[in-house]
């Protein structure tokens, strides 16, 4: 059993899927780390819900290679993302920019939380509907139910 532990450990690590192939990687680990960081900000244009870091699409591969070339050429991370945005639009940013057309994305969840909070608050203020006492008829019905319940067994 103990011999299997490394195997399980390896399985845990490989859970983080990425598509970067060894041949694409830069020799300098610091630059490669930067490339990974930039790649995680860029959305694959063919698969839409993946970063180019995760995607196996050929265009994503070529974009990863391009990111690494730009890094070697001395571009900053912002310049590289900017290069992609100039060509594919804000669409390629996986994290939407803060602007008028994306306000709903940023504040939507907060608005819903607020609405829910207000609903709960107004409920609590009223003391809840359950505070209503039973009518005499209901009391009687309850009592008869309880009695029959005790006799049953």
């Amino acid at each position: 059993m103990k011999r299997l532990i490394p195997l399980f450990a390896a399985l845990l690590i490989s859970g983080a899927a990425f598509a970067v192939e060894p041949s694409e990687m830069l020799k300098d680990p610091a630059l490669e780390a930067r490339a990974r960081e930039v790649s995680k900000q860029i959305r694959c244009v063919q698969c839409q819900n993946e970063t180019i870091d995760e995607s196996h699409a050929e265009i994503a591969r070529d974009m990863r290679v391009l990111v690494r070339e730009r890094i070697l050429a001395g571009d900053s991370n912002e310049q590289i993302v900017g290069y992609m945005v100039d060509r594919y639009g804000d669409y390629v940013r996986l994290q939407p920019r803060f602007m008028s057309s994306t306000l709903i994305l940023w504040f939507g969840p907060l608005i819903f939380l607020l609405l829910g909070g207000l609903a709960v608050a107004s409920r609590l203020k009223r003391g809840g509907d359950a505070a209503e006492p039973l009518t005499p008829e209901e009391e009687a019905a309850l009592a008869s139910l309880n009695d029959s319940g005790e006799k049953a067994p």
Binding site: Q46, E58, D62, R87, G89, A119, G127
Partner: protein, 196 residues
Amino acid sequence: MTETVPSSAQSPAPRGKRWPYVLPLVILLALGGIFAKRLLDVENGVDPSLIPTVLLNTPMPSFDLPALPGRGEALKSDDLKGQVFLINFWGSWCIACAAEHAMLLDIAASGDAPIHGVDWRDEPALGLKWLTQRGDPYAKVGQDPQSKTAIAFGVVAAPETFLIDKQGVIRYKQTGPITQEDWHKKIQPLIAQLKK
């Protein structure tokens, strides 16, 4: 149990307090409306997965692509200044390009504007075979094996076609195959206008 039960508790809720019950219905209807609009958009041919072009009316990227071996000269952006032309991204692996090919031959035959081809992510030999077998609509063809030029043009999937004016500015982008309708209603009139 509290003793402070309002006397109105037995009667229906006062009018002012109905909105919490109506609100979810209003939200539901509003969402339904939005979904219905998007679905109808798709029915009417608006593809929500298309990425809007940001390069329209901007200068085309510069490029210098090697020719297919044994077929004409290289495709260089500097050589194309001063002419109105189409630049078409294709590849022998691209099924939609096969569907578009007859249209490209028609356009080439019309003589309205030259089509230059970018053989994208392709084996040069397969690209050449494609042109010999199906006919060759292109004035010049360049190879783009690593998508450098495709990415510079913001290309997502072949075929994509750009119309460039005499100043080298992108005036139109076609995503997917050019149809007869696209050609006659949009591209051909635009070419005539740009050539003036």
